[in-house]
């Protein structure tokens, strides 16, 4: 097939620029991949952690069990709430001793406050919702203090957002740079073939036919860059897995999407350039 051969020929004609465009596409997608991976794994971790999210409302000494039961019943009817359970002083002590195992003696004779433990429904465990429910619970006059994993949940959420945004920004800037470099490569290729192109025009080749090999070249570079990025991301993940923490990887659909995006970067970069430069020869 002539177009494929032509694409190969231009690759050989300006290997440095070609390699550079492939590399920048790879870096663009690698940035997406790496930060995407971080975001994905934080997401996974959050899903697991969120199961444990609960709001614990400590009640003041001297609150009657009836008051506590009444409040638990009220709280259980909030739309965000899955369950609200009353925990007596004795139960609190027993739980603390169990959790501490060998150090159970520490609590000998100590008095832990009674509490209402509130669990939220799945999908309602984001920091904003947790905060809202917590402040409602806090409004009960006998609720003394409230605890929830506010700090670390918010931090994780923020981390995930930062990873997402950083990946997006870095990936998009690399995408832009690679489009510019691809544009430059195409410009050189078009100029190198100016005579051939003018003869093609003269004997009646359509613009689409003339453009095709250049576009194909862009797509090919995009896909090669995408594969390179996939390899880099996979290797990074392997390293993280081995030395830091077990992680999950993208599924096949996301990988295909990444390659497609690479092809798109290549196509756009060459389409813009080839349109502009063909008009001049």
């Amino acid at each position: 097939m002539r177009p494929f051969r032509d694409a190969l020929i231009t690759f050989r004609r300006s290997p440095l620029l070609s390699a550079l465009s492939v590399t920048t596409i790879a870096f663009s997608l690698f940035a997406f991949g790496l930060f995407g991976l971080v975001a994905l794994n934080i997401r996974e971790a959050l899903d697991r952690l969120e199961d444990r999210v609960e709001i614990r409302a400590f009640v003041t000494d001297g609150t009657t069990p009836e008051q506590i039961a009444q409040a638990s019943g009220d709280i259980a009817t909030y739309p965000e709430v899955l369950s609200a359970a009353a925990v007596t002083q004795e139960q609190a002590l027993a739980r603390a001793q169990q959790e501490l195992g060998d150090f159970r003696d520490v609590f000998e004779g100590a008095a832990l406050p009674a509490s209402i433990d509130v669990k939220l429904r799945a999908g309602m465990r984001d920091p904003a919702t947790v905060k809202r429910v917590a402040s409602r619970v806090k409004a009960f006059p006998f609720v003394d203090d409230i605890r929830y994993g506010e700090e670390w949940i918010e931090k994780l959420y923020r981390l995930r957002n930062i990873a997402g945004i950083a990946g997006l920004a870095l990936g998009l800037s690399f995408a832009l740079v690679s489009m510019i470099i691809i544009g430059a490569t195409i410009r050189m290729a078009v100029l190198a073939r100016a005579k051939e192109i003018s003869i093609m025009r003269l004997v009646g080749a359509t613009d689409a036919y003339i453009r095709r090999p250049f576009l194909l070249e862009g797509v090919a570079k995009g896909i090669v860059g995408g594969l390179l990025a996939l390899l880099l991301t996979w290797l990074s993940r392997l390293l993280i897995d081995r030395f830091i923490i077990k992680t999950v990887f993208f599924d096949a659909r996301v990988i295909m999407l990444g390659l497609l995006f690479g092809a798109l970067i290549g196509l756009l970069g060459s389409a813009v350039s080839v349109g502009r430069h063909l008009r001049r020869v």
Binding site: I199, M200, R201, L202, V203, G204, D207, Y209, I210
Partner: protein, 229 residues
Amino acid sequence: MIRFTHVTKTYPRTGTAVQDVTLHVGKGEFIFLTGPSGAGKSTLLKMVYMEERPTTGEVRVSGTSSVTASSREVAKLRRKLGIVFQDFRLLDNRTAEQNIGFALEVTGAPQSVIGPKVARALTQVGLAAKGTSFPRELSGGEQQRVAIARALVNDPFVLIADEPTGNLDDRATRGIFQLLRDINASGTAVIMATHNLELIRRQEFRTVEMNRGMIVFDSDEQLPPARDA
């Protein structure tokens, strides 16, 4: 077949190159286009194969109008035209055969028809033995024959030649001219721009002379040409 109607071409930087030209070229005609340098001959020919479009007026070639034709239609039109230049415009890294076949390839012709058509065109221009030569291995006259074969390989209804003998010596010039007459005799119209007055003087073909962008003489219509056709 080819009709210019009140065609004016003004280039942005150099001004008017062709002014109010009205001209008709019939089927199978042979026309000499002459006139001093800068008269607008090349510009006129460019408007036939629609590399340039008129600033005002209309050029119609075989049903394609310069006013409405899309770039795709222009490409299709050029497959029915043969175009040759003074500088041959062959690709140095391809043999004569490959240069000729190129014109068929880029229009999507199947490989099976390319071989026979190329062979026929090469024979037509008298170069059957030189098909595998590269342009640098051919004389100027031979290179122009290859260019003419490339122009003929699509069976054009008209051959447009912009000073095809401009780079050739007398002998080669006569050879190319004879070839163009043979091509014309087999039914293809020929429009040939040339400075070679001697060549014209010895012929009885229609002669159109331009000066400063205007047609100042047309042997068919007797001078001066009618302003309206």
